[in-house]
């Protein structure tokens, strides 16, 4: 069965030289794709989690009574939202990376940086998507009536308790469609980690087609399908979540 599958693609590459699906008939190239996919998944997963945390904390800080905290968050948003994530990645890795300490590597004698390129990609992309998430949650928070928060204060809730127990659960529900969009974009933006040589799916794909130009279009097609699949899982998960949070008799 598998034999017939690989044989088919080997034959296809012979008959049509531009359609060499090399990863389907050469195990070493397939291994590159698998490795790339693993990195893309790790990167996406970590960035989704961290960017949502940044969004939640940032939106909380934006409602702070301190004007300096609010300005700080505003500055953060302006910077990360208005500059290209590609350049952010480069800057984080090369400019900031040189200041982070090095530690002794697993072999016992080489010095490796404390934060790897994958680490920097996670940090950089999380802050990038987090900036949008702050804005997304803020508009969700604004949709929670002042009077609901007032009722919580009257019951003795502190500002933080009101935020975590009442405002955030309601704001989340309002924010989900916009959050969905931003997270989909985030997953696609992980390909920009190629800028700092994170071995994710695009990096591996480019390596493959530099080595085998005949595999260029097939590898692009594989990229498309991989992302349709990954984003599909995300969207599916988000809509399951949305449904589980739906409240009878509330909202649309």
């Amino acid at each position: 069965m598998l034999e017939a599958f690989t044989e088919f693609f080997r034959q296809l590459a012979d008959d049509y030289p531009r359609w060499n699906f090399i990863f389907f008939h050469e195990p070493r190239q397939w291994a590159r794709i698998v490795k790339g996919l693993q990195h893309t998944i790790v990167l996406s997963f970590a960035c989704v989690i961290f960017s949502v945390i940044i969004g939640v904390v940032g939106a909380w800080m934006q409602s702070s009574p301190s004007v300096w905290i609010r300005r700080f968050v505003q500055g953060y948003i302006q910077f990360f939202r208005n500059t290209p994530p590609f350049v952010q990645l480069l800057f984080f890795y090369f400019a900031l990376g040189q200041f982070t300490p090095a530690v002794t590597g697993p072999d016992g004698w080489t010095q490796v940086p404390l934060i790897s390129n994958i680490g920097w990609a996670i940090i950089s992309l999380s802050f990038f998507a987090g900036a949008f998430n702050v804005e997304i949650f803020r508009s969700g928070i604004e949709a929670v009536p002042e009077s609901t928060q007032e009722a919580a204060s009257a019951l003795g809730f502190s500002r933080l308790q009101t935020y975590t127990d009442i405002v955030l659960p309601l704001a989340f529900r309002v924010s989900l469609p916009a959050l969905n969009n931003n997270l989909v974009n985030l997953v696609k933006t992980t390909t920009q980690a190629i800028a700092i040589a994170v071995p994710e799916l695009l990096y591996q794909s480019v390596s493959i087609w530099s080595d085998y130009p005949s595999a260029q279009y097939p590898t692009m097609i594989l990229l498309f399908f991989s992302f349709i699949f990954l984003v599909g899982i995300l969207v599916f998960g988000m809509s399951r979540w949305e449904r589980s949070m739906r409240i009878p008799g509330y909202g649309g």
């Binding site: 009077s147 009722a151 009257a154 809730f157 009878p248 008799g249 509330y250």
Partner: protein, 251 residues
Amino acid sequence: MSHHEWTDDQPIVSINNVHKSFGNLEVLKGISMDVMKGEVICIIGPSGSGKSTLIRCVNALNDIQSGSIKVEGLEVNDKDLNKLELRKKVGMVFQQYNLFPHKTALENIMMAPIKVLKQDRAEVEERARGLIAKVRLQGKEGAYPGELSGGQQQRVAIARSLAMSPDIMLFDEVTAALDPETVKEVLVTIKDLAEEGMTCMLVTHEMGFAKEIADHIYFTDRGVIVEHGPPATFFDKAEDPRTREFLSQIL
């Protein structure tokens, strides 16, 4: 500030020459009133006269510019006020119910005792079920606010306040948003409370109700108390022309 203990022969709420402005708009212009433990007082008056602002000041939802408000001896107009201390003493019910829409009726009632007072969940639940029964909503424990009528929501809101075991309850036009048919069920609930000896401060337009349950009625207009007295004298012997005009319109 005096820190001596409050005893219940002193007013439980003592409001003294309170001034409150929103920007340039002076809304309360020297309000004073005393409420004794177990008393029910009603505040009536035209819209915009500052009734809501006044009772919101009692639990520090609004701050005041000058004057003094004491609740069981606790000075509300104090920069270092421990708001939690105050809010444990004072419950409030709003015109728009303001239930937490993502929580069921029972959860709405249980939330503050568990989260704020850190009480034991099982104990709180037992008490919450008792309160549901008290406001006559058995069977609605698992309903979300969006599945309840206005009157039912308002009764959950009352139960939610009572779950904190307050000594004083504030009601701000709690029947004003309700259908006429459901007004009565909420008023009955409040009347039960008043008869059990709860200290109540109500802003209301239900004159018949005020006459029936109030120990004292205050008429406010444009930020001042124009006239006040027990219902018997207030309704029949109002002297100020503004009071008489208001009563003639509303009765």
